[in-house]
Symmetry: none
Subunit: 84 residues, 2 copies
Amino acid sequence: MFRVLPPPEIDYRAELPPHQQIIDWVRASIEAGELRPGQVIPSEKEMTQVLGVARTTVRRAVGKLREEGIIYTVPGRGSYVARR
Amino acid sequence: MFRVLPPPEIDYRAELPPHQQIIDWVRASIEAGELRPGQVIPSEKEMTQVLGVARTTVRRAVGKLREEGIIYTVPGRGSYVARR
DNA sequence: AGTAATTTGTTCGTATGTATC
DNA sequence: AGATACATACGAACAAATTAC
């Protein structure tokens, strides 16, 4: 039923900053096969809700995933797992 | 002639943020009897025009009024003053 | 029946200000 | 000083529901 792995409890005192914890979560979801190439990932709004963080934090994570070529984004539609 | 009280001048430097000023305006319109239960409130587009704010700001106000049960919304139709 | 217009829903892009560490 | 996070606002595009003609 999960489109992704269960969202992590964001720990603001951990070594890794919140946005990095989000990145790790999405990457793990992809590697686990929960998120497959071509599939849309949870929207920024959804992630802010399930993670309990601000949109800017989610966007930082999404932006870095995009820079790494892990995902690609279509404005107004969402972000998708890159085929590769 | 007014469907609502005269729209407020939105003050971006006030203590209350713009969306809260909009909420207060709608609530005052209801309490003043200009907007009655079952009546439709101005559309999001109308409010953006008379208030001079972005739709996202109007939607934030409308969303909170809905959460409070002050109004209810029918997609494609509009938002109405709740009966209560 | 069918198309256009209206209205709300969703999503991303961007910017500013404040606060914390 | 710098990085990070939060809250709020702007704009834009497209989808979906409803209404009007």
